[in-house]
Assembly symmetry: D3
Homo-oligomer: 245 residues x 6
Amino acid sequence: MRIVVTNCNTTQGMTEEIVRGARAAAGPGTTVTGLTPAWGPESAEGWLDSYLSAAAVLDTLRTYGEPYDAVVMAGFGEHGREGARELVDVPVVDITEAAAHLACLLGRRYGVVTTLERSRGQIQDSLDAAGVGRNCAAIVGTGLGVLDLADADRTTRAFLAAGQRARDAGAEVLVLGCAGMTGLQRTVGEKLGVPVVDGVGAAVKLAESLVELGLTTSRVGGYAKPLPKRRSWGAAGPAAPGSGG
Amino acid sequence: MRIVVTNCNTTQGMTEEIVRGARAAAGPGTTVTGLTPAWGPESAEGWLDSYLSAAAVLDTLRTYGEPYDAVVMAGFGEHGREGARELVDVPVVDITEAAAHLACLLGRRYGVVTTLERSRGQIQDSLDAAGVGRNCAAIVGTGLGVLDLADADRTTRAFLAAGQRARDAGAEVLVLGCAGMTGLQRTVGEKLGVPVVDGVGAAVKLAESLVELGLTTSRVGGYAKPLPKRRSWGAAGPAAPGSGG
Amino acid sequence: MRIVVTNCNTTQGMTEEIVRGARAAAGPGTTVTGLTPAWGPESAEGWLDSYLSAAAVLDTLRTYGEPYDAVVMAGFGEHGREGARELVDVPVVDITEAAAHLACLLGRRYGVVTTLERSRGQIQDSLDAAGVGRNCAAIVGTGLGVLDLADADRTTRAFLAAGQRARDAGAEVLVLGCAGMTGLQRTVGEKLGVPVVDGVGAAVKLAESLVELGLTTSRVGGYAKPLPKRRSWGAAGPAAPGSGG
Amino acid sequence: MRIVVTNCNTTQGMTEEIVRGARAAAGPGTTVTGLTPAWGPESAEGWLDSYLSAAAVLDTLRTYGEPYDAVVMAGFGEHGREGARELVDVPVVDITEAAAHLACLLGRRYGVVTTLERSRGQIQDSLDAAGVGRNCAAIVGTGLGVLDLADADRTTRAFLAAGQRARDAGAEVLVLGCAGMTGLQRTVGEKLGVPVVDGVGAAVKLAESLVELGLTTSRVGGYAKPLPKRRSWGAAGPAAPGSGG
Amino acid sequence: MRIVVTNCNTTQGMTEEIVRGARAAAGPGTTVTGLTPAWGPESAEGWLDSYLSAAAVLDTLRTYGEPYDAVVMAGFGEHGREGARELVDVPVVDITEAAAHLACLLGRRYGVVTTLERSRGQIQDSLDAAGVGRNCAAIVGTGLGVLDLADADRTTRAFLAAGQRARDAGAEVLVLGCAGMTGLQRTVGEKLGVPVVDGVGAAVKLAESLVELGLTTSRVGGYAKPLPKRRSWGAAGPAAPGSGG
Amino acid sequence: MRIVVTNCNTTQGMTEEIVRGARAAAGPGTTVTGLTPAWGPESAEGWLDSYLSAAAVLDTLRTYGEPYDAVVMAGFGEHGREGARELVDVPVVDITEAAAHLACLLGRRYGVVTTLERSRGQIQDSLDAAGVGRNCAAIVGTGLGVLDLADADRTTRAFLAAGQRARDAGAEVLVLGCAGMTGLQRTVGEKLGVPVVDGVGAAVKLAESLVELGLTTSRVGGYAKPLPKRRSWGAAGPAAPGSGG
């Protein structure tokens, strides 16, 4: 089985890290290919980044020529999931929903530990739309930006503190709230004494499950195929770093 | 990996059918063992049956001496799931929640097609508690009892009619609402033009996923281990068939 | 009027205490009979106990030969209520819902003070299913086990501390969250300055009300009579105390 | 025990009918006194009438000089309940909530059959605020005005038709959605095959229950006593019938 | 355009202050007329006051003879809104809902800072019924009575403290929770670093918007015109100050 | 006051139509400028189009050099709203939420009549996130594509049929569910006998209201300014019409 994993930003190193996490979870017959958008934000932090990322990831999928059996979208709380379901004929699993689906099987209430506080709203909306928001007890920010996660010690310390706040709010299971946290689940899970779910691994297993069961997205209703029409995918050229958008 | 599948009733033939469905879904390294409760109802249809079934299934798990890596509970809408999570140290997945989790990945709204109308309330409560009730558009009864499902033609016809009602209520994906329907998903899915999820297969894949990711039930909060105490598991002897309970 | 009160565990002394509470609330023409299950857990603390208790209580009702006009189920947050409604032809009132129904009449928000933290989830689910969860502001554990309640001073102190937490969360009325707390309502109510509702007394009054109004459970839909079929009620013999279930 | 029943309108004949219904439900030691507001609408049908009625009923209670042990407010879906809880030191039970509380004990979902379609919104809001709206499956109008209910045959026919619509929407129990329907519960219940709850009787039993248990409204939070201040209760003189308000 | 602003209490000075706030917000072609009820409470604080106020305000509107294009109801969390929609043929906007509607456009979650804690329940119910309760993160009391607001410094200090509590609960925008706070928005907004919405100004702009778009209340369903019937509006004469209601 | 109105698609003629609708609603001192994205879909119908549109509209705003006082986003149910709130320092109002906010003031329940059935999910999510989904009784499709709306007669007929379905579901007010329907509100409102709200006009009035009250988006929490970072806005060159995305 061939799974394509889309990074939500243009940082190639993060794609590689995500692919490592995906491969660690994949079954023996599964190959994982990482895709990095050719455009978009270097990290997705906030609504503007998220919408830009959504279009860039859809463009990446639209123009990817190789065959594959499933898509894993590796942007935690980022937009685009439903568009990918319209676009491709194979199952699409987003790491946000995937982590929540498995977390629901492990405890009555789960919590999400994410990067910046500003991402909490997007995550909540994404969980609600995916139908798994009910048992989410808390979404807690660590205060770290996506690219700060490279500092492993600092990330671990921040995660433990935020995880404790989620537990105080009733979470019995934690979810890593950023693709860039993949790999952290074992370290912090032991220290906090609760299961910790990594969305990348969760999404790979769910994608494999759907493929093996012969299931794919319904074309009835919400996720009908895109209508044929004229679409153009973006302006040419990058914005200068630091510009107001 | 060794998965134990518990039937919710005492009908051995139904256990065998469920095990066939589970094996069809299981990965190459997975062995499936079916357990039939030594007591309980011959079919679970309604609240009284469901509570009796829950205790009998927990007793079955409690006294089962072989090692295993995960439990699949094959009673759609039946009670007991949370008790099993307390009791055993391995992941527990119930077919009700499992089908709903996968259905959420395939469309915006799903519907459940079940046996008797009287079961609808239990299913709704079970989905809500599992945290996946939000995107359930309808739970529709076929009017068939659990043991009537042996008649395949009648079952197919009844399912198609009920499935259409679920689609009219907004369902884009359907769920087989009884373990005894396992195998029906391919036939009816093609005819209705929507993905149809079998809970037995879904639960097997989710159980495998949790085991492969090294995840198991949280002991923090709701699913702490049962306290040591005096418990006795039932009176001796069957009730006469047809008695008022 | 004859009311049968079912204890949810096998501890005869607790049945007696519950019966005392029920009799204190009952009208002059009401007789109260306590039933202790012949099997089940010696106290119900958690999901496994609750499902075992549900089956044992249903078996107790099923095999009770005397006539009666209503059933009060005295397990706070324990399962079984809907099964009893199917089984018997007279009104069934559970102490969990009963306390909440009356509490809703006394303030905008109520809180539940219960035994162990682990019971909170069951209570919440039970209130939601009963249709009275909306105005519940908090469910707070005292940390005391069911059998610890025999120590009255310790219970009072723990209740006052937990009750304060419920008030801080917005509760204007408190509910005794365990049948074994019956009698405590007067002491702690005065100290906390809020009405405190005992579920046993509440359920007795609601059962009397239904009987006097000539009302009983609807047979349409969810609570139709159990279908005649083969059911057996449990294995023979007790588990050793302290076993893993 | 002395229960005061407040009619929500100025029609003395309706007060008498309500008092008959209340007395039929009251226990042997209970006396029932009906109060008719000295001002307000001759029937309450819609929001304007409801707010006018609320003030008039509160004025009636405020100026009533005799002692009593509980108040039953007999305006289905009408406002004022929380104000009465602030005003008097004894339990206050409104027939809207009372009927719903008992209906929840008799089936998984209940329906309300009321007079005009325009009243449906008020009833829904009242049930929600009382904390018992969750299990309400439908609120159905008969198209009859409050004062049309004097025609018993027409009322019965209209109720049966509306009751069937409520059942189709999932109601397993019905509630009489107007104080003026009191007495209808037996006739229509038999014909529809479901329990039918009269709010007047239900409120009397709940008021008796609270009094017998020694419970009254919490003064903590929402229902603190009214602050001493200058209040005047209405202008002098009636509006001409048929005026635009 | 002529906007009538109804004060919810009989305190003429507060009407004047509200009218000043309304005029500050009104467009150049808008005239604002304040109406003070001839009866009712001197300030509305709690449910009893609120229902009395609702009837008095409706009576004020009913008997006001001048033409106007829209009504602004200036009682935060007070009842009566839906009755006014039935009564008059022009748009009716209540300051509670108005503030919330605009607040929703300015941040993901808003908070309300009001006078006494006891008003919180009414405000919550009012926001829910208006359809804008979902994004309300907190309703916080300052502990000040309505007539205490004349002390500007004390009001500011109390608002800042309560506003901080609302922000801690997730509010990104604040709402002045009493008509008597109008004018405070600029001072406290700067100090708290968040937008602060005054309901009086918000309601004026929404009323102007509806009038300019040619929109008025639907007569279909809930807000049909009041039926012609006999209604009388209150008893004669004031209650002594300090009486129990 | 200068309001910028962003079309969500690249069809210049639709921008012009929207600008006409906006100008018809705008106050005398307001100038309206329409912006057509330089890239994106020629019409937005479904999730893929919506995410592509969101990025294109944000890019349009990001690169627009003229000063303005508010933004109206004219894509009904389309994404991007929260990103624009982060990006610009002036108020942003989306026509979806705007129509719903005003509709809530005109009746207890409103309905949306939109183009294709497939758009219903996006609209529901958008209303929920905006905090105004509670009182939405129905979202009904006409079956017409966005570019079909040019045929006025067919559009009117389809709207009337769909509007009737919304009314049957309880809607007392209707909302035009597509920017391309602007202008239709008067014709169909009269025929259906209910107020019909056009989102473009509603958003213009709400934007004017916020500007006149001196209010703009909160920077606390969800809508903080975008972080400075490297972002690139799209690939070069259009896709061929009719391609699979």
